[in-house]
């Protein structure tokens, strides 16, 4: 267990060292977060009204509602994108084979390679929230941070499975998975990113109810804006964990199968 943890952090340190050789992107990310938060604030000011506030489930203002939706989708995007991006980088830098002949199991290589992107996304989101709180009154004080962390972990667990499936698709077909973009696009419409799903037509609301993104976002807003406890977000958490428990082992099995296929066909390092 200790060795696994140490091996896991090796990948984080590798990516941190590589990232540290590029200095300017950190600055750009801080500026990008400022611009993103500012844009959302002025859009919110433009559309905000007492009727809108009443229609929003947890949002004290449309700004807080949309900012949580926005940053949540950043996470979702990272969870679904990080594995095939790591795979692509390993293929492009030709480090995939040296990694695969090392004594580290594939599952650890995958998980370890995802760690830095998740941490970097968390930092970026922290900057978003900080700008929101400093400049535009985002209510930091009302959050239940334990619930936020638990919801976030459950979200990563659940949606990493889709990312691993996407990486399996990349291994087999050498192209990014179009389904990933469809899920992200669909979830931005029916997941409640920028508006509540209640305003959708009835048939879309039914689809939204079977979409785990809806539950994750609902739980995140409740934890972050209402300060709801872990028990209070129990139902959406259970849906997320249930989805993850089924999807994660399935995705790892599919990825392992895809890797074996490429080892049989000799296309592992082909682009």
């Amino acid at each position: 267990m200790r060795r696994a943890l140490r091996d896991f952090f090796l990948f984080f340190l590798r990516d941190l060292r590589i990232a540290a050789t590029y200095r300017s992107p950190f600055v750009f990310e801080i500026i990008q977060a400022l611009l993103g938060a500012t844009m959302l604030y002025y859009v919110a000011r433009f559309v905000d009204s007492p009727e809108l506030r009443e229609a929003l489930p947890q949002g004290r203002s449309y700004f807080t509602y949309s900012l949580v939706g926005f940053i949540f989708f950043d996470y979702l995007n990272e969870a679904m994108d990080t594995f095939d991006r790591s795979l692509l980088e390993a293929r492009d830098t030709r480090t995939l084979e040296p990694l695969l002949v090392s004594q580290i199991p594939l599952s650890l290589i995958l998980a370890g390679s995802a760690m830095y992107p998740f941490v970097a996304t968390t930092m970026r989101i922290a900057v978003y929230i900080a700008w929101g709180a400093i400049l535009f009154g985002f209510p930091l004080g009302s959050a239940n941070w334990l619930s936020v962390v638990v919801v976030l972990l459950a979200t990563l667990l659940a949606f990493s499975a889709l990312g691993i499936l996407s990486a399996a698709h990349l291994l087999l077909f050498k192209r990014g998975n179009p389904l990933k973009w469809m899920i992200l696009g669909l979830s931005s419409v029916i997941g409640g990113m920028l508006f509540p799903v209640d305003i959708l037509p009835h048939w879309l609301q039914i689809i939204a109810k079977v979409n785990p993104v809806t539950y994750a976002l609902d739980a995140m807003r409740r934890a972050l804006l209402d300060g709801t406890s872990v028990v209070g977000v129990g139902r959406p958490l259970l849906v997320l964990v249930g989805f993850g428990v089924v999807a994660l082992p399935t995705s790892i099995a599919v990825f392992t199968w895809a890797l074996r296929r490429t080892k049989i066909t000799g296309t592992l390092t082909h682009s």
């Binding site: 091996d7 090796l10 060292r17 590589i18 480090t95 995939l96 084979e97 695969l100 002949v101 080892k263």
Partner: protein, 231 residues
Amino acid sequence: MEVQPGEAVALLGANGAGKTTLLRILATLLVPTKGHALLAGHDTEKEPAAVRKSLGYHAGSDLGFYARLSGRENLRFFGRLNHLQGADLEGKIQKFAKRFGLEGVIDRQVRTLSSGTVQRLSLLRAILHEPTVLLLDEPTRSLDAIAAAEFRHFLKSEVLAQRRASVLFASHTLPEIEFLADRVAILHDGKILAIDSPAALQKAYGCGSLEEVFLRVTGRNVSFSEEAHPA
């Protein structure tokens, strides 16, 4: 075909004969379509994790380093992936960097290194954890004559004679094969057509050189026109 501890076997064959494929199967990067392969007593398909514990692999072309990290940082990372750590890891990097003439460049970013230096770095990575089985695909491909000779001597004296590792390597350089290999396997179309020591092969086929043996075994004729060799 077996390779014993302390033995070096060379794979000799034309392009596409199956040398790299065989090495990649043994390195668990490919699954054989027929038959099976064992490395250090473990099936490469069924027990890949056990196989990788004994394995050092140098790929012919895909050398694979993180270009923005230094040679030392890369070696540390891959060394740790093979469960080396602390003073042991640092000591081995230092020792082999000195042995491979990399002392002056090991702290430079890999993207600034020449192809020959990256090749030496890749060879160092393959032997860093002192594996009992070394698979080398064209190990001296981009090396200059001096570096190539030094590496061959290192393999012969330290890896084979002292550490008694098993070495299977693919090469197109016949003097290299004659210097290093206890036995030579001649491959053609994915099949081993002949395997024995260079001297025994020459005797068996009545040839004066390994090159002649290779051409005879694979049924190749090499003819030169007068125009190609003007007087």
